[in-house]
Amino acid sequence: MPRLIALVAAVLLLAANAYAADTPRKGGIIRVGNLGEPPALDAHWTTASITETLTNHIYEGLYSLDGANRPIPMLAEGHTVSKDGLTYTFKLRQGIKFHNGKEMTSDDVVASLARWGKQSIYGKALFAQVAEWKALDKYTVEMKLKEKSAIVLISLAVPNNFGAIYPKEIAEKFAPEIKATEWVGTGPFKLAEWKPDQYIRMVRFDDYKSRNEKPNGYGGGKTAYVDEIRWQPVPEVATRVAQVETGELDFADDLNLDAYDRLAKNPNARPLVSKPYYWLVAVLNKKEGLMTNQKLRQAWQAAIDIEPIMKNVAGGHREFYRMDASLAMVEITAWHTKLSGLPWNEHNKAKAKRLLQEAGYKNEPIRFMTTQEYKWMYDFALLSKQQLEDAGFNIDLQVVDWATLVKRRNNSKEYDAFTTGIGAFYDPTHPVFLTPSWPGWTTDEDILKLQAELARETDPKKRMALWEQQTRQFYEKVPVIRYGDLFGLRAIRNTTKGFNEKTERIRFYNVWLEK
């Protein structure tokens, strides 16, 4: 009999726990382990992903992305477009407070986005189409365009290098090319303290006014349940894993994939596969040198056998890579293409050899730059080298540190190819590898013509047709070599609840601690 009572009690307790687990509670400090220090906390200024992650807790833009990666209003109440499609009028939400207590008005929005339009890669692309940008009244702003544009809302919604709204005083104090070193936003958390190599402390902003909708992707309602987010840079990845295992961290990002099995066995924590992450890419120098030869680029594309490379990079785990030829990733449902017959992953040595011959290639060394600072880059470069050499290439693999790579790739004389990753992009006009201004220099007229059309065309169906055409063209002209999709590994303690596993980057609003 006592046994039965104990059993009933246990069941009741379990049920209570299950119930408790679904009820958010306030309080506590969430400790998040990440890779290192941000280069800046100025969202307009840098494209670095760590800055993106951190600043999205402090600042907000007019728009944000929903769960399907489409734009939804954030600080904007909504917008109207004139009949000719050339005038966008944005209504702002009222009563939004900055962390310094000031109310957000149209002046702040105009000043912030003007600065963003001069520095951010997305801002610059948008403001190239803007004729006039001004405040109509305290809560209304107007954007007049030179031509019809398809990218107004999506550009305002991208989370990277984003159009964060700063107080006017700060937006005007720092010139676009100088990084802002005062950090005041409207987000659910405010910056409390930044001690390099120890922590960045963000505390709940008590006057935060949440949207009424449910949380949705990066947007919707945001609630700061935890009192504080403590971002702790832990440069050694093995230590990050260990600290989640011991409970010194509640969450850790960017782990080595080999740790997956061990985390899966841990009773107090579990691994999360982060998707999308990057598709691996070898960017080819089309301005100068050997790779200006299209046949040679095609030969590289034909030679590689992508699956074994991806499997090795993914630590042997099928969970961590995906074989896909679409330029936009599967998660970006609006732009993911399902074309067949693309010359992707052909691993056709005979074809590669034939193309090499047609290119007139005489075994000249091809300078391929990579870095060990991002292990996956070195891994896929080394694996490619062997496959390419088996097909008749001569690859001079140059392993340098990241600071050298990002400097050298700006100089067309110094390399033929370099490794990097292409993160999620939310619109066909956004990928940098289809622009003439980014290293690698895609100056092909046909590609650029289609990109320009994509920026002007506003009908979604026609845009998709253009985008499919661009994808086919991509595999013919081969501006860069697309490998497979790689995923990342994160770890979360069981006591960390409410985390949205679906978004590309981590967010800690709507997250609470059960302890």
């Binding site: 990845v237 080999d258 042997g316 694996l383 392993v399």
Partner: protein, 281 residues
């Protein structure tokens, strides 16, 4: 004290168990380096993704690394770069260290200048100084050796100087000076033998440091590229999988330790022989 005849010294040396053991180990390692093609079972540079991280077996004596390369073959081939870097750096820092240390310890006027130069060199973080030197001279094994020699010489020089400082006041040096012996003769006959002990110890440590530092330079893109087999490179790459595949970093680490041990044994034996007061035990 009477000078031991040369022949018996040599006999002492070969009779010394330490020396014999040390030379034997060193011989094996040097042989492996010289005959790497014969001794290794696989091409150490050939990647074999399906066979990554295999545990030691008959097919792969020491297992495979994260690219499926055979660790045994990597260690065998790696001994070439590693021995070249380790031994040459050890020798060059010892020679430079002796010269600078003796001069500084003996000619007190030069001491102030020389030691401040050494302070200056020591002030740079070793890695930074090495990177800068490599950047200036370009990649390559000899430049790695040069850079590491510059980085590690001050440590040896300071140690020799301090030994000289304490020895030059001893009775027998003072006596030799009183007898009018030339400085050079005193330095070589009386002071240098006393420095041999600390020097050998420091030298075997620099041997190990240099082999590990070589991998750090490779990581930064200024040394031997990371895909060229070397002990340092294999140890560094094994760090990523230390919990999943201990063998990748363990075996090259053992090779390094054994070589270091052999140098120590030879060093101890040499000292015992050249310093007759210690005798052979």
């Amino acid at each position: 004290m009477p000078e031991a005849p040369r022949r018996s010294r040599l006999r002492n040396l070969t009779a010394n168990r330490n020396v014999v053991a040390g030379l034997a180990i060193l011989g094996v390692v040097v042989f492996a380096a010289a005959a790497a093609e014969l001794v290794s079972t696989h091409n150490p540079r050939r990647l074999d993704p399906p066979n990554r991280l295999r545990a030691p077996s008959l097919e792969h004596y020491l297992g495979t690394d994260e690219f499926g390369r055979d660790v045994w073959s990597l260690v065998v081939h790696g001994s070439r770069v590693s021995l070249a870097v380790g031994l040459t750096t050890m020798l060059s820092t010892s020679l430079a260290g002796i010269l600078i240390g003796l001069v500084a310890g003996y000619y007190r006027r030069l001491d102030l200048v020389l030691m401040r130069v050494m302070d200056g060199l020591m002030a740079f973080p070793a890695v930074l100084l090495a990177i800068a030197l490599m950047a200036a001279r370009g990649p390559g094994v000899w430049n790695v050796i040069f850079a590491l020699s510059v980085v590690y010489t001050p440590r040896t020089a300071m140690l020799i100087r301090s030994t000289v400082l304490s020895i030059r006041e001893t009775d027998y040096v003072q006596a030799a000076q009183a007898l009018g012996r030339r400085d050079l003769a005193i330095a070589f006959r009386h002071i240098l033998p006393n420095c041999v002990g600390p020097l050998l110890v420091q030298g075997s440590f620099i041997f190990a440091y240099a082999i590990l530092a070589e991998a750090i330079l490779g990581f930064l893109g200024v040394g031997v590229p990371p895909y060229v087999p070397s002990w340092g490179n294999v140890i560094a790459s094994g760090k990523n999988v230390i919990r999943e595949a201990f063998w990748v970093s363990l075996f090259p680490g053992l090779a390094l330790t054994l070589s270091g041990l052999s140098l120590n044994l030879v060093g101890d034996g040499l000292r015992d022989t050249f310093d007759p007061r210690l005798g052979v035990r």
